[in-house]
């Protein structure tokens, strides 16, 4: 039955070797024995497989007709529901019409076409010596013909052209990326002494008395919209304002004066990769980052209690002005955002 016999008798028997008598090289076991398919032996089964292929093609035909009917009969319309129905019918029609053809073709090849295995011996990848020598000869001929060794000016011109060409790619690349070498802008935000804290996005100034315990205010600096690039500034300057019971607040000596009656303001930019940290749990005083679940303890200097962030959120020192509105004492005392920038500018 097998047409791939290369001298090795296929054998399923297990050959055992005594310890220390293992052969140097295992023999090629050859192909497994050929089994006839049901369709090869029984014409009825063959007929059945043929019918299955026909059914698969028929499914494809029906689905294509269904797609066309749906395209004209169920337009997307204006409502969300009608759009969804239209998409659903078109999608099912397309899927079945293509899958029908694909499955029919594969089933046809597997069940009806012959299943004789054929072996093809691998040939050597290396060419024979004559071919290789001929190839080298062609190259040498070309080099001699161009006379590159003798024509020094030509050689120099070619090398110059090849060496200079990459500049056309590199110069704009460096120019665009590094056109602005002012790194200090990453170190500073638009907060400065006396800037009022206002609500995001409505821009109302906030009285300290309005920040009740348990409140969270999302803060932008006053005058943000007048900046030349408000979104660039906002991306660095957003702050989260929380009021805690002063007895629950743990503060280091140097940062005692940075809060006001239990009101603390922290940068909203995560120190991991800069997502806006804003999921505040009122009862645990934990602040969560939505991207990688870094968790900061607002009652304890926003120190990291969980997650990949490496350092606490920078705190904005705040106080109140004569009218009772909350203002910043100064800019942040460290760069906001991912730790990368802090290392770069130090």
């Amino acid at each position: 039955m097998s047409n791939h016999d290369t001298g090795h008798e296929a054998s399923n028997e297990l050959v055992t070797h005594a310890p220390g008598t293992l052969p140097d090289k295992f023999e090629d076991p050859g192909h497994p024995e050929h089994h006839d398919r049901l369709g090869d032996l029984d014409p009825k089964a063959n007929k059945k497989a043929e019918r299955q292929v026909v059914v698969l093609f028929a499914i494809s035909v029906l689905a294509t007709i269904g797609f066309l009917v749906a395209y004209f009969a169920v337009p997307p319309g204006e409502s969300v529901e009608s759009m969804r129905l239209s998409n659903l019918l078109l999608g099912i029609g397309l899927a079945l019409s293509l899958l029908g053809i694909g499955f029919a073709a594969v089933h046809w090849a597997k069940a009806l076409m012959n299943d004789h295995e054929k072996s093809e011996e691998r040939h050597l990848q290396r060419s024979d010596d004559d071919t290789r020598a001929a190839a080298v000869e062609v190259l040498k001929e070309g080099a001699a013909d161009s006379a590159i060794g003798r024509r020094g000016v030509l050689q120099g011109a070619m090398i110059s052209a090849l060496a200079l060409f990459p500049l056309a790619i590199i110069v704009p690349l460096i120019g665009n990326v590094g056109g602005d070498w002012n790194f200090s802008k990453f170190r500073h935000t638009m907060w400065k002494k006396g800037t009022r804290l206002t609500t995001d996005p409505t821009g109302r100034p906030i009285k300290a008395a309005d920040v009740t315990i348990g409140s969270v205010f999302h803060i932008i600096p006053e005058g943000l919209e007048e900046e030349p690039h408000p979104l660039d500034e906002k991306a660095k300057a957003v702050v989260l304002l929380v009021r805690l019971d002063p007895s629950e607040l743990k503060e280091s000596e140097e940062k005692k004066s940075w809060s006001y009656n239990g009101i603390v303001a922290y940068s909203k930019i995560c120190t991991h990769v800069g997502c806006p940290v804003a999921l505040y749990e009122q009862q645990t005083h934990h602040l969560l980052c939505p991207c990688h679940q870094s968790t900061f303890d607002v009652s304890d200097g926003a120190k990291v209690v969980f997650g990949p962030a490496k350092r606490p959120l920078p705190q904005l020192p705040i106080t109140v002005d004569d009218e009772g509105y909350l203002i910043a004492q100064s800019d942040f005392n460290e760069p906001v955002g991912p730790s990368y920038w802090e290392r770069l500018v130090k």
Binding site: R84, D115, D210, V211, G214, V216
Partner: protein, 261 residues
Amino acid sequence: MKALAARRQDRRAPIVLLLLALLLTGGLYAVLAPTSADAAPVKASTDDIATGEKLFQANCATCHGPSGSGTESAPSLIGVGAAAVDFQVGTGRMPMQMNGPQAQVKPVQFSQDQINQLAAFVASLGAGPAIPTPEQVDPALGDPATGMSIFRTNCAMCHNAIGAGGALSQGKFAPNLWATTPTHLYEAMLTGPQSMPVFNDANITPEEKRDIIAFIDQQGGASPGGLDLGALGPVSEGLWAWVVGMGLLIGAAVWIGAKSS
């Protein structure tokens, strides 16, 4: 008219006039009188407070203390206001069914009248936010576009960009908002239940709260792209693509490679 004029002297005329006058007064009262929801939080009678206290003693005092001042297992209710009671009891979160990371929504245990009486009692313990009027929470009066920008800054990080809800830490979660009534949405912002922070009227003004309610009112309809998989973003969609989608592809590859029997 003549017939009417002739009957003016009839003995029954005063009775008819009296009936008409009564009808007019009643009609005017029905039109002009404040609706019950309007009046309930403002005009809680002493009766309501007394009934509310009885309800409180029977249902809440075990945890919150007989005077509502809290115990080790539950917070003080002095100063939480009627809005907090209407939210917690009106959504079934209170009375709490079991201990857990957070109180879960369950079938409401009291009638709205009883909730109002409980609210009146708790409000009498100390000043706190009142239950909003129907006008304050009417989505038709709010501006969904403004509501969206405020929702995006203040709410979306926990409740998801379209209010579908999301996970917090240690089993806590921010719930889906689509089925929450406008009044309960307003009260939640005002009182900050459980993990949620407080958003008082200086932070988000009453008009802005109504805008947010108008925005949420627009969410939660049919999803244009078919299954929304909980609207939870890349986690559920990725799971679907990797497990179901790639599972089918691997299955098809195995079938193509297998020998026909």
